[in-house]
């Protein structure tokens, strides 16, 4: 059953790509993309709860395990929400003729992000991650302005250079595995984990650090995050939502899977310390840049860096609490960040500027949407009763061991700083300043956009009050697998 659902998840976006590439009508493209996105979401939601063990298919190239299924769930939800939003948003662009190409690229990008967690072979996983970069570059540069192309160029160069480091790490992992498995073997996650106790610790440490820096570039961990603010702020809002909510998780998945191999080889302490250090640095850099920020979408992008740091800290602290916190954070962040990007997209279109100095009195002109956006801002900085509060609290609790308490202290301080800085920007946008001379275009906030924002915002509230017990089962199986079980 899970395999069937996995096949649906993989095939549906490809259908969308094919149809959008062939059609010339933007309405058809929008419709097919939405249909396939909803199919994918419906197929992806039950998978983590139905997967009790790892299943391998397609001659060993496809794997459906709890961790991958959870990431696919997050990605599929963001894809569906972004598709709903994109219908309303992209019509504002006024370039209807190019929309089929946009939707083809969009569905293709979604396909690569859905395929990556399901890849069994570490080399094929790397190739899928590289493909996500190549496809999303054109999405980032879609609006063909000078800044967009600059952002796209920076994105592709920095990220491609970064993941070549990850390829080097993968090659070194393969080399380390040849001791136990001979010169020719299939580099699946299970095989690597099984061979881990026989691998040389020094080599595995070097290989993991390379993988961490390499996939960390893709995941937006500081100090390799330099492409992130540009790419996330220059792309159209649905693309930014998909980038922030989906793509960063894919890269973090790679780090976590290789971390399990490192744990099996006996160097788990060093690898987790490296992950924690990068998490703390991400939080620090994000805090600094959030406090002094002028662009509204860049603000959201730095918030992504912050939350990636929190997730890295969660996985770095390890143990059942840490992993559970990080995974719950992944879901909540995906939904919440989508809401924030949706809101900033319509605000940008309404006020005609990306600069926060030009956005004033949002609550006056857009009562409902503005309230939703403000609630999202409260949520994303980690205030109760929203979901991110629960997940960050879990991560903090996981870190309260003597070895990691320094990280917990720094994390607390930085979270407070980010809370204050982020909400200050919103206070300025909502409650201060004179009304702008030209009132904002209210038709920028169409029904599709509002629907997407509501669908993204309500679950965040629900998940903040109710932690479903089904999730706990999934998290427990994932964390036991990461701590040294046989199947990751």
């Amino acid at each position: 059953m899970t395999l069937l659902l996995a096949y649906i998840v993989l095939v549906a976006p490809l259908v969308a790509v094919a149809v959008c590439a062939m059609t010339r009508s933007p309405r058809v493209a929008e419709a097919i993309n939405l249909l396939m996105a909803l199919t994918t979401a419906v197929a992806a939601v039950p998978v983590p709860f139905l997967t009790h063990s790892t299943q391998v298919a397609l001659d060993g190239y496809l794997v459906v395990d709890p961790l991958g299924a959870w990431v696919v769930l997050c990605v599929a939800l963001v894809y569906a929400l972004a598709s709903i939003y994109a219908i309303g948003y992209m019509r504002l662009l006024g370039e209807d003729g190019r929309l089929p190409r946009f939707y083809a690229l969009f569905a293709g990008f979604a396909w690569t992000t859905l395929a990556a967690p399901l890849m069994n072979n570490a080399g094929v996983y790397w190739i899928t991650v590289e493909l996500t970069t190549l496809v999303s570059t054109f999405l980032v540069g879609f609006e063909h302005a000078a800044e967009s192309i600059e952002a796209a160029w920076k994105y592709i160069i920095v990220v491609s250079a970064g993941i070549t480091l990850a390829l080097l790490g993968t090659v070194l992992f393969y080399w380390a595995g040849t001791v136990a498995l001979g010169p020719v073997y299939d580099m699946t996650w299970a095989t690597l984990t099984r061979a881990a106790p026989h691998m040389n610790p020094t080599l595995v440490t070097l290989a993991f650090l390379l993988v961490l820096v390499g996939y960390g570039t893709k995941a937006g961990l500081a100090p390799m995050h330099t492409w992130l603010p540009d790419a996330h702020s220059e792309g159209p809002a649905p693309v930014s939502a998909l980038l922030s909510g989906a793509l960063l998780n894919i890269a973090l998945l790679g780090i976590v899977r290789f971390g399990a191999v490192a744990q099996g080889a006996g160097v788990g302490a060093v690898s987790r310390l490296a992950l924690i250090t990068l998490g703390v640095v991400s939080l620090a850099l994000a805090a600094l840049f959030i406090v002094r920020q002028r662009g509204v979408k860049r603000l959201m992008a730095y918030s992504s860096v912050e939350h990636m740091g929190v997730m890295a800290l969660g996985f770095g602290f390890g143990g059942p609490l840490g992993v559970a916190g990080a995974l719950y954070h992944m879901l909540n962040h995906a939904l919440n960040k989508s809401l924030m990007f949706f809101g900033s997209g319509v605000t940008m279109r309404a006020y005609g500027t990306k600069d926060m100095n030009g956005i004033r009195r949002v609550g006056v002109y857009f009562p409902f949407t503005g309230a939703l956006w403000l609630a999202g801002a409260l949520a994303i900085t980690g205030a109760p009763p929203f979901g991110l509060f629960l997940s960050e609290l879990t991560v903090l609790r996981a870190g309260l061991t003597p070895a990691h308490s320094w990280a917990v202290a720094v994390m607390l301080i930085l979270l407070v700083v980010i809370f204050a800085g982020f909400l200050n920007h919103f206070r300025v946008m909502y409650f201060t300043g004179a009304a702008p001379e030209t009132p904002p275009r209210s038709e920028a906030v169409g029904p599709w956009c509002i629907a997407a924002m509501v669908l993204a915002g309500v679950p965040v509230l629900i998940l903040g009050i109710w932690w479903p017990s089904a999730f706990t089962g999934v998290f427990r199986s994932i964390s036991s697998a990461l701590a040294g079980g046989l199947s990751p």
């Binding site: 080399g123 000078a146 020094t202």
Partner: protein, 226 residues
Amino acid sequence: MTLPHFTPLAASLFSLLAIASLLLTFIMLGSRWLRDYMYAFGLQSWMIAVLSASMGYYAHFPELYLVAVLTALFRGLLLPYLILRILQRLGADRELHVILQPSTALVLGAAGVVFALVVAYHLAAAVGVSSQVVILALTVMLSMKLIGFLMLSVRHEAISHILGLLVLENGIFLGSQILIPGMPLLIELVILFDLLVAVACFGVLARYLMERAGTTSSLQLRKLVG
């Protein structure tokens, strides 16, 4: 680690090819004419193809012959041709070295190679391998990585960035041919095709850069800060 024992002739052949690739990397680092980069890159790819084929012969991995032929065709001929087309379309001829003089870059590259040698020695000692070919492979792989990153940092032309990325990939490929010749064929082939797609994307993007931003030099792309 399970490399067969190589005859001195084979070892010196690998040594010559690997070090010649490294020398070509230095030529790429120190040259000003973008066309010279490209020829050096093509020649380097051919050398790595010959290395692949000889590894296939001496270590008895017949599928490496196919990999060698494909490397020579795709990395050695098709990629330089694509880059040549990008060069012609962009109309860029030479690179004025603004950030760092080529001589300083060469010396930094030599320092990088020494660092890579030290790391390779320590790694080989930790792993317990004493074969000279392995140490050489690790040294050349790591130093090509370091020099590739150096090229990415100190150059400002778009073509140089693309070639720096390709040097990075070439370095990994060279190392993987010597260290893990048994890596499944499918992975190597797909990585090769993936490179082609990547360069094609670079070409398209570089064209957009020229049209919209008016320049391909990263020194001028300064609109997005903060």
